[in-house]
Symmetry: C2
Subunit: 401 residues, 2 copies
């Protein structure tokens, strides 16, 4: 037996014994076809409420669209959040009509993307001096007064993060020591300087590391402001708030983070808005991937459950997306969610490759062909972060409940 | 500086100094837009010729469609090969009209897929007793005389393979000791038993390992035939022929494999057809991924080239698809293919994630914004094995020249 990650809070059995998602039976939800992603809006709403309660009142909550760009989800989020943070013009198309403030980061913005962003009145987070020059040229050619923020590559990183994005040479942002010069250039050009953006890592469960990072980020913004001689209208503190995926993971103590940030901001002058940009933390635990058992077979003394899903929809759960070691995501028999685990099985997808492993030697209830398997933590970096065209398999359905 | 894999043979500079692909300048090929996959049919034809010359004359050459299902490529291949091996009903749709014999393997075939395969007269490689029972039921219901082969999970593996698929419990095929019983059941049911399929691993560069594997596979087929009391009409020996991706890789000595297989087959009775099923070896080295430099920036003392491509098209080159360690694929400046490398750069994609690394501290000619970067070994497990929807980026173009 190998361990699996913890099933996120909020999932209970429906009256029919199956997994309930948003108060509905997984068996009912899957009736029109599997594989299927179901996103539970009540669980996302609870996360948003928790953020609002824990964080200082003037900290804006932005959604990182790349975590999950499912259109009904974006529409739903638009009424609850303070902004969308984008990483492509494709994402801009998806949120342009939703009415929220938008900012656009990303190291390789094409000219056409800068144009689209300028036309849409979006704040462009500039990633380099050269990108700044291009964006200024395009704005001038279009006759548009541009809104620019400067993305800063900080000289520190989010310690112990799943993904480090600062403290080293990176393609993201302008190195901190060059940021004041770029800000001055923008101000001198007459652009609307919207402030600073610092994103130093993601997927951390360590409140102390995030508290340190936010303090360092604020001090960096102070130093840049002092050098520039002007305070930034906004400081986007990035994100980095993780969720538990694996057996040893413990949830982030968000309240500690909020309390510490409150103290940091107390002593700072008014006039700057602060934002936190979250994707995975907001929606990751609210999503469930449901796939159906097609075959149950014995081989080499082990029992295999072969499902109609796979890494073409949930690459990260297969251990093949940025992980050094494969570990089991939380997984359950969604048809028999109220039954105790009694057998060790290995759950695979339907792809003809040994990479397509969804649950390696996990304990499940006695499982039959036709049962549904649920993989949790599927709300972020699931479908769009997976090779959907691989082996020419059918597309997965998505549903917001 | 970190090493990169070897540029596959056959790539030279065009008269304009750029990379020539199929005799055409990469600069010209990319004029209508990047990112772009270009597949060179002459290089594939040379591989097919080499296979035919090296292998015994009665060994059929099948193409594993999952390696690259680009429609013009499949059409082109259909006139040159002996069969298509499939892993889904979606792949069947892509080859159904191309006139070649087809077989269909894969551990999680849905009922609808089995139906489609039966209607199309395809040989179905059965992966378990339960799948056999389902397929027999469906064939009877449809009134179709089915063509079945049995996929056998061998008690040995391809030693040192990039991916092991035998020698352990796996979701693939029926364990060897149970195969004769399943074959007898098929024969007794009146099905057209088409033979055996053994696929024990992929991406090996070791001729000795492949020779051993093919010998063991043939001996396994002999044992099963003896137990069944009937020789298999066909034996699909699987594939496993690799290509060099990384600096230390040396090409597979195909001629040694062919010679050894010839000797093995000499002593065996006529009446059985043999097939080898190749994907990566046939098309992998013939494909080039072309992406354009959008930004050139300094950070932390390093030089970054940010391109308009990325892991959403070439996940394997980013080191995030089944690799334990990230290593550099062969990479070049395709605009200045005739110039000597003079600077150490890090080439990234345009995605807002540190995973999106295409060439880590590689030596390239002096490279400017607008130049094309070529990533080689992009003909197999490229576009369809990548998360194309990630960050809502535009689709890549594909072209067969």
């Amino acid at each position: 037996m190998k361990p699996m990650g913890p099933i996120p809070p909020g999932f209970i059995a429906a009256p029919d014994g199956s997994l309930a998602i948003g108060g509905r039976s997984a068996v009912e939800l899957a009736r029109e076809g599997t594989p299927l992603f179901v996103y539970d809006s009540a669980l996302i709403a609870a996360k948003i409420d928790r953020f609002r309660a824990a964080m200082p009142p003037h900290v804006a909550l932005h959604y990182a669209v790349k975590a999950n760009p499912y259109a009904p989800l974006l529409t739903w989020l638009a009424s609850k959040l303070d902004g969308f943070d984008l990483a492509s013009a494709g994402e801009l198309e998806k949120v342009a009509s939703l009415g929220l403030p938008v900012s656009f980061a990303g190291p390789g913005k094409r000219d056409a993307e800068l144009e689209a962003a300028l036309h849409a009145g979006v704040t462009i987070n500039l990633e380099s001096e050269r990108e700044a020059a291009r964006a200024l040229d395009i704005a001038e050619r279009l006759g548009i007064a541009p809104k620019f923020a400067v993305r800063v590559n900080p000289p520190f990183a989010l310690k112990g993060a799943g993904m480090r994005m600062g403290g080293l040479g990176t393609p993201f942002g302008v190195d901190a020591d060059r940021a004041p010069t770029l800000v001055r250039l923008l101000l001198d050009s007459g652009a609307d300087w919207r402030g600073l953006h610092v994103y130093a890592g993601s997927q951390s469960l360590n409140a102390t590391a995030i508290i340190d990072l936010q303090r360092e980020t604020l001090m960096l913004a102070d130093r840049i402001a002092a050098e520039v001689g002007a305070g930034p209208p906004t400081v986007n503190l990035g994100g980095g708030f993780g969720i538990p995926h694996f057996a040893a993971d413990r949830p982030l103590d968000l309240e500690r983070v909020g309390e510490a940030l409150g103290k940091e901001l107390e002593s700072r002058p008014k006039g700057t808005e602060y934002a936190v940009e979250l994707g995975r933390w907001l929606v990751g635990e609210a999503g469930v991937y449901l796939t159906r058992v097609i075959d149950r077979k014995a081989s080499g003394g082990r029992t295999f459950l072969v499902t109609d899903g796979g890494l073409h929809h949930m690459l990260a759960a297969s251990g093949n997306f940025g992980q050094l070691l494969r570990r089991n995501y939380p997984i359950a028999n969604a048809t028999r969610f109220d039954e105790a685990p009694v057998e060790e099985v290995t759950v695979t997808g339907c792809l003809c490759t040994p990479l397509d492993l969804l649950g390696d030697e996990v304990m499940l209830p006695a499982t039959e062909v036709g049962d549904l398997i649920a993989i949790f933590c599927a709300g972020a970096y699931g479908l769009t972060a997976s090779p959907q065209g691989f082996l020419s398999q059918p597309v997965a359905r998505e549903m917001l409940v």
